[in-house]
Symmetry: C2
Amino acid sequence: MTARLRKYDYRKGVQSKMKFIEGSVTASKGFTASGLHCGMRKNRAKKDLALIFASCRCDAAAIYTQNKVKGAPILVTREHIADGKAQAFLCNSGNANTCNADGVEKANAMCACVSKELGIPEEDIVIASTGVIGQPIYVEPVVSAAPALVKLLSKDGSGDAVDAIMTTDTHRKEAAAEFEINGRTCRVGGIAKGSGMINPNMATMLCFITTDADIASECLHKALKTAADETFNMVCVDGDTSTNDMAAVLASGLAGNDRITGEGGALDAFTSALTAVMRKLARGIARDGEGATKLIECVVSGAADKTSAKAVAKAVISSNLFKAAMFGSDANWGRVLCAVGYADANVDISKVDVAFESIAGRVDVCRGGMGVEFSENDASSVLMRSEIKVLVSLGGGAFGATAWGCDLTYDYVKINGDYRT
Amino acid sequence: MTARLRKYDYRKGVQSKMKFIEGSVTASKGFTASGLHCGMRKNRAKKDLALIFASCRCDAAAIYTQNKVKGAPILVTREHIADGKAQAFLCNSGNANTCNADGVEKANAMCACVSKELGIPEEDIVIASTGVIGQPIYVEPVVSAAPALVKLLSKDGSGDAVDAIMTTDTHRKEAAAEFEINGRTCRVGGIAKGSGMINPNMATMLCFITTDADIASECLHKALKTAADETFNMVCVDGDTSTNDMAAVLASGLAGNDRITGEGGALDAFTSALTAVMRKLARGIARDGEGATKLIECVVSGAADKTSAKAVAKAVISSNLFKAAMFGSDANWGRVLCAVGYADANVDISKVDVAFESIAGRVDVCRGGMGVEFSENDASSVLMRSEIKVLVSLGGGAFGATAWGCDLTYDYVKINGDYRT
């Protein structure tokens, strides 16, 4: 426990003026939200339809799953957002509307009935669905519920909205932050869902973000992509990249800042705040991974390049064997090294140090690719906690990355052995 | 349940004159084997040291893990086999001799004491180790046991040898076949171990093969590589590529066939027989995956190219969500399609058909990328069996591939939550 790994500053780049605030998607000026049970799910106690609405037409951007199988809502949203504008998020849980022959038609019908109630064009709705793949979807529940859904829209409705998009999630994922651009206070806030089928690639699980910053849709898209690469794309629950992943953002412009239309300090400040909000949501998703009892954070430092740093962090966090060891609070660092070794990364194994850390302390377990003596009792008490860091120093450069995952438990198997039936 | 997928002939290329026979590594002329408990493991009831010996110096070939972390025995074996010759396999279980500062020295010491007893140069020993990574290894048990190990060598010793290389394995993996080259009967036989940390890449778990065919080491290497690509490299238990994977083959030449020194029918016949033996061992490893209750075989047909066929088969078999669904006998074909969609493959999703098959029958669940109606009861009875085929037809070409895996169960988590401590 002598040599200390260099601490990777995961907040690097975040402007000091940024601070987290209460709330989520309705924290930004101009946004209201609602959520209710419409009947997409049998369980009447579970909300299954969410709406987030802006008081004005917004600049909009979205990123999507890289899976070749894409849910019908993604195809529809891609068209609706092609002009860089949108005004509402509509999302159901209980059915993914994926691999259905009439999926696009049904997604359009859902947009149509809600847009009519809102009094906006249906092309200004970003639609998303989550749930079982390949089950016929019925729009009648949405048609019936549309008036109530719109009537319920309020500043206090974000809790209902996040409840409505959850599937096997056990906790809400919400975050909001305040930051400054040209002396003007801006806000960014979001909600997310995701617990299983989590291995985002390029896009993410479902995540809806709002901001009142005034920012052009191309800049918004760039910021979203940058933030996702550092946050959602560094989360893995089970290695399965979903067919319905989507992260989307609406910018109302009501903060009154000078409109962001290109590179510069303002875009950097916005991207930093967006990244901070998305990081909080991403950690929430990892912590709430199906069956998870622990949040595992792998902090890689000393990498020769950014790609290697990310590949190593992601490999460690994704290893079933390592995840099972974490469930058992077993300091089986050989499995960490094994994952480092098979990661598609530029690594000199003879320079790799590994340590485990939690609020109970820190234990160094491997130095220069070889085991070091450590107390199993100390290691156990570090690993018994609900938030564990595995620190991997590659000793080969100045790049770092952080990835988030969870342990692999009996409950993951239980949840997924009979999810559908 | 009307349209039938074209059946992929997984025996394609296997010569009709080949047949499986009793036995394993000692089925080939000139080989004896032994296994005993030397003390590498605490449990005295578990054998932990194996020896397979040829009566003459053999042509030899081996392939190894692609993990950048490599066990010390792999480094030593690579040197020993550089001249294409070897005469014995030596393997311990209970300790992987990996990430130990003195690992190479210890592996050399193990070879030295056994070679002395055998009366052969220590450079003619292929050494392998399997067990926990990063634990100091002691050679004293091997030194003490070497005389007994050599004395026990016999034609009947292959069972003891395979028992000694097993770790979390619950069943022996053994296979042997007879085939003809130029009218001469030749034999090839092997043993393998592997249950967890199974996602071979290029190489494999531990597998020791013998043959009495007369074949030059370059040809032997080529045949081994070809066979591994179709067998061990198509197995996945948990996606973790081990640090100690090795498949090695010794050819005594005692069958008396014309020596194989290049391309042609004789090399093809040898490769086919080797592939058949290794396929049987590979299936055995998948079936005996840690905690597994079912062998899952994914048969892909209609692929545009071989690489795509393999990528799809491997992605399906590796999906944690699909594996958990198989444990629960849940015909959740959306997870199959999801894995097809994220496989790094050339696939047109709108042409994909999926069916489940076992001795209880067959159920078509997806056609043209969309769900078809099926009886959940029929599906359940198909999936309740211990051997399940998932048939994926890509409808885009003439290439196929088969991959083997197992279900994901509570016991996988249990075994790996406290493997080390």
